[in-house]
Amino acid sequence: MRPPSPSIPEKEFVYEALKQSLRLDGRQPLELRSPRLTYGSELGYVECALGKTRVIANVDAKMVKPLPERPFEGLLTIHSEISPMASSEYELGRPSEEEITITRMLDKVLRRSDAIDKESLCILAGQRVWHLRLTLHFLSDAGNMLDCACLAGIVALKHFRRPEVEVIGDEVTVHSPSERAPVPLAIHHTPFCLTFAFFPDETTQPVLDPTLLEQRLSAGLMSVALNAQRELCVVQKMGGVPLVADGVLSVINIAVTKVKELDALVEDSLREDWKGRHVEVR
């Protein structure tokens, strides 16, 4: 059974609070819930939490034959299905509209934005390439699963290291991690997704990283994926409340500054984790 939509008092209270720039969890309107990244013992396993929203991302690589039309490129596939575990909103089998949006956005942010250098995943042209599988598990939905999933996905890719391979002629040797240090993926840039929620009242300013209640009461979402180099990868505002053109641009400018903070945070966290890891190098 789907939970009922928020009650009238809840709705009115949230709108009133937002009008005064107050949020229920004490954040500023443009404040992100600070992400908590927990790394697993394996490389490429990350659990990302934004407040109570939690997503696990895991990367693994195997060798496959490349697609005939792209013999020099490796593959990256993203597997995500939102199970009813995250929230009773979701059903197995029939994807909800939100699920489609999340899946498509993940595809655009992580795959189509060319974050990963696919050519570097080629081992032997036309014969052997790396196939990266990014699997996302949505553990709980407390709002803004999209940003959480994108963050988990890109951090997992940055965290992952593939085994070193050696090609002599047509002979491919894969070195186990204990023999040779595994190599990180060649990453062109690191896109992060930021979602803003807009409300029916025009004077209410948009909020960044909406909670579940805010998301359900919002009159439209706008997601911006970009990297710290001020390059936009995806801008998506699918309908919802109409905005003035300057409003759109100011939201993008906010995203530009926020993403820098996020990028620094992720880099720090990865460095921290790497320090604690003992990887044999011979």
């Binding site: 009922p4 009650s7 209270f13 009133e16 609070a17 107050l22 949020r23």
Partner: protein
């Protein structure tokens, strides 16, 4: 008090024994005579309590899913108008029904004006495992509201069922502590929902955050911590 897990034998014995939630008595036939243990076992994990004279026993535990029990007060959201009455979501497995006439002063002519999405404070009048729960917003004998009815404005906080029971305990520190700081109105439902209202939005937010922080299912802050936490809030 002791901790029990499901399936444990409970040494409850009394001539006039009454079992509360989390305990059942196995039928005599199923307990073989070889085991002289008591025939009462726990069905839930939690702490075991009994009344001073040992006549009433129950297990206290915390959960989030509400199972309706008669005479408990709950907070529900109206989800549908169904003929004469309303369908109300009270967080239980099935929606409850609320008769349009179960209000103070309600008659065939004068029906309560509840919209879809309204919050109501009601009492469970019927809870049976084979039937939909039923609610009422008045005392069936006196036909007076007794505080039940629609909850207007304010905000609804969701918390664990254990937190609700704590808030209803007059000796619990939280509400007096908050009440000393700001003037507030509270309606506690046994179904993990608490309605709060105060004059200012930021006060209501502070109260809701304190309730969430004190929830044993969440951070489970104690009195001292809550005082400190309240100090950091803009209230």
């Amino acid at each position: 008090m002791s901790i029990v897990v499901p399936g444990e034998h409970v040494p409850a014995q009394h001539v006039n024994l009454k079992l509360g939630p989390g305990l059942i008595q196995l039928s005599q036939g199923s307990t073989s005579s070889a085991t002289p243990k008591s025939s009462i076992i726990s069905t839930r994990a939690g702490s075991l309590y009994h009344s001073a004279n040992g006549s009433k026993w129950w297990v206290e535990s915390n959960a989030r899913r509400y199972v309706p029990a008669p005479q408990e007060s709950v907070i529900g959201i109206v989800t549908q108008k169904a003929g004469e009455g309303f369908r109300v979501d009270i967080g239980s497995a099935h929606p409850a029904s609320l008769d349009g006439l179960a209000f103070e002063g309600a008659s065939k002519r004068n029906r309560p004006n509840l919209k879809i999405g309204s919050l109501v404070y009601a009492r469970v009048s019927l809870a049976h495992k084979d039937m939909e729960p039923e609610l009422e917003c008045f005392d069936a004998q006196t036909r007076k509201a007794e505080g039940f009815g629609e909850l207007k404005s304010g905000f609804m906080v969701r918390c664990s069922l254990g937190m609700c029971r704590k808030l209803l305990d007059p000796n619990h520190f939280l509400l007096p502590l908050l009440g000393a700081k700001v003037s507030l109105e509270v309606a506690v439902g046994m179904n993990g929902r608490v309605w709060i209202n105060s004059k200012e939005t930021r006060h209501t937010i502070a109260i809701s955050r304190c309730i969430e922080a004190a929830d044993p299912d969440g951070k489970g802050m104690e009195e001292g911590e809550i005082k400190k936490f309240l100090g950091t809030l803009d209230a």
